[in-house]
């Protein structure tokens, strides 16, 4: 498959209070952005169990985005710090699993940052497009 035709599948876990609202704002403000992100709304970025991330890759995702409120702004106070700590540890784990660093990304997007959502979404889609398909079968399935 040539990479020009490759349409990345990206799973985005967006927290209800900030990032999902930010994405919604991008939509209602009629900003255009890449259609590759499949959004899953979670109550808080701290709810994103690392199992969700690996499951997403196993089910065919090429990249995973986690987005939450800016530090200090989490609706549940600490959830995004928890997300940040998990993310930092996942970074170490993912390299041991041979998953390229860029495929898992954490961003802080507030409810008013529709433009930032647009930018992150476009940029991340391009990054993954350049990387090519994840193909979890390469080591993931029955080899």
């Amino acid at each position: 498959m040539s990479n020009e035709k490759f349409e990345p599948k990206i799973v985005g876990f967006l927290c209800n209070w900030c990032s999902y609202t930010g994405a919604d704002l991008a939509g209602t403000s009629r900003m255009t952005y890449q259609p590759n992100l499949r959004i899953i709304r979670v109550m808080c970025s701290g709810r994103v169990d690392p199992q969700f991330i690996f499951k997403a890759f196993k089910e065919g995702a090429d990249g995973v985005l986690i987005a939450g409120c800016h530090p200090g702004d989490c609706h549940y106070k600490e959830g995004n710090y928890k997300a940040l700590r998990r993310y930092k540890l996942i970074k170490k784990l993912q390299s041991e699993f041979g998953i390229e660093d860029e495929r898992i990304r954490l961003e802080w997007i507030s409810a008013s940052e529709g433009a930032k959502f647009q930018e992150v979404c476009n940029e991340f889609t391009e990054t993954i497009r350049k990387l090519g398909p994840f193909n979890s079968k390469k080591g993931g399935k029955n080899e």
Binding site: L84, E96, F97, K141
Partner: protein
Amino acid sequence: MSKPKVAFYWCASCGGCEEAVVDLAENILKVVEAVDIVFWPVALDFKRKDIEAMPDKSIAVTFINGAIRLSEQEEMVKLLRKKSQLIVAFGSCAHLGGVPGLANFWDRESIFNRAYKTTPSTHNPEGIVPQEKVTVDGKELTLPKFYNTVFRLDQIIDVDYYLPGCAPPPDLVMNAINAILEGKLPPKGTVLSPNKSLCDDCKRNETKPEKLTIKEIKRPHEIMLDPEKCFLAQGVICMGPATRTGCGERCIEANMPCRGCFGPTDQVIDQGAKFLSVLASIIDVNDEKEIEKVMDTIVDPAGTFYRFSLPSSLMRRKRMPSVADNEK
């Protein structure tokens, strides 16, 4: 009535699970009285052809330990599946992949290279590595195929029950044998150990503060381990929260943290990811740079969190260009 036929087999394992059967001590005599052991390579001289000659489903139960990493192991477990009414995955390697499963961070070539060429104790100037076929004096010799990937037993054949542990403790083994003999079996697919976490049964759980937080992580050899305090509260990685109970807290009793050999509870798919989640949650540091510093003190997180369960993880193995789709 003739006694039920029982078989034991071993695959990629260390021999400890055979030891666990012998560890049944005088109970083994009761077992031998009640059953007819038809196959047990470590102790009895029966051959593959003896199994092949048996009618299908004529063995009541076969206990298989070890992971699957060779074509011969795959053939043998498929044969035993055909001949047995029940298959029990015995021990961590058959249940989860176990320590041999850590080989899934490499592939055949890198393993051969290390084992047969670059270890300091190896003298192999011609660089000979195992081949599936070689001709010596006009005769062809064969070896089983060495797979790129290690599998747990139920990734190769259908498994009825799982006896967890490295190795399974005698009481769980006896319970399982008795349940089979008495026909009092739980639903198919059950892991034959209580479905709750090790922390639930651990004596040290009481010493866990209400809100457990740590600022740094220590390896067991770096501090004097308190013999009563929860390991996590001492900043030492203990897999208890992500591990199924039933071992009798063997490691904890020996003042060593749990490494997760019983695998996760039924609610968890990926033991390592679950533990990562727990550990990251209790680290009481919020500044990005400081977090990175703490995480850098965790040596080989994947090899630690998946010590016994890498082939059972969602990723199953390291992604490597050499390992193509469906290639064994």
